[in-house]
Subunit: 217 residues, 2 copies
Amino acid sequence: MPITITAFEKSPDRGAGLARDTRVRWALEEVGQPYEVRLLSFAEMKKPAHLTLHPFGQIPTYEEGDLVLFETGAIIFHIAECHSGLLPEGPDARARAITWMFAALNTVEPPILDLSIARILESDKPWAEQRLPLVKDRVRNRLDQLSRHLGDAVWLESAFSAGDLMMVSVLLRLKPSGLLTEYPNLADYVARGEARPAYKRAFAAQLAVFTDTSTGG
Amino acid sequence: MPITITAFEKSPDRGAGLARDTRVRWALEEVGQPYEVRLLSFAEMKKPAHLTLHPFGQIPTYEEGDLVLFETGAIIFHIAECHSGLLPEGPDARARAITWMFAALNTVEPPILDLSIARILESDKPWAEQRLPLVKDRVRNRLDQLSRHLGDAVWLESAFSAGDLMMVSVLLRLKPSGLLTEYPNLADYVARGEARPAYKRAFAAQLAVFTDTSTGG
């Protein structure tokens, strides 16, 4: 059954790989599944046709026959369940890998998103400068804990999993802030993720969209 | 295999049911699984013994034989996978229910947590009053979308699932703000969740901890 995902026609990060379709592309590349991409403008994302697929009017979505999914975590979990390569086989190891998916999305990403909001959406507000250190310290608090847990391990558990795919993707959002460089073991962990051939293919594919649509090609 | 979860010895919400162990208790009650609770003080949560179980030093954790899980979403998903009653049987319907779990935790909860941060942690900051309407409007944006999607349906998909358990739990955090009352269909949806016998048992159990430990009983 062919797989179709949606992505930004023109990514606001200019192809830096931070839009969430990159996470789904990466997962599909890890398990070797081809996919089609339907590009959407911001206006199209808020129209009824897309809201039927994604109630929150975002990208990516995932279509496979009659199945329509939204929410990156759910899409990646579905890919990981249907194809081998992203979740370990033993039930306990599998549950641990899934734990890290949720930890990335519900414990580590929220303060990182708050930092993006503070740095971008609220940058012109009168409190912007004074509030920023507070927001950064909340991110550091999570990074301290994650860094301590990871230690000198290669991945979060014994082998690369969808949990690492998600955690690396979430941490990549920190690159513009410079915060990641305060934690050498986390910076190395992210670099290991970026060095995976599947990540490189996913990154190149999302960058090509930006390059092509920017030049009208 | 006996199940042990951790919870606050003295919940900061004074037994209002907003601490995340309530979500896990609710899931265990829905599937009819007994469980033990180990209570932790704030000091104990930051000690090595607990950090071994939960790298981010929070509650709840979940222990079942050799399996140790943290992160509420992962714990509830594990319970839903191991016992019937929280996920539909068809693979597509199951993937949709899981989608709502992730949507609750990664799309709807983050702005709601930001509102709690603004109202509690940053309430004494010079920007508190001026910034609050902005934070509330970000919550309203998600509630608008969710309310439009839910319409007059009873649950998010055709039957109650772990997705509803998570979404109702996330929306319950809005009660002190009064925002939920702006969306009658969402308020009714939350009330349907609270009316479930399993939720009532979970709520009573967490309240009993607060009552008992507060009176030294």
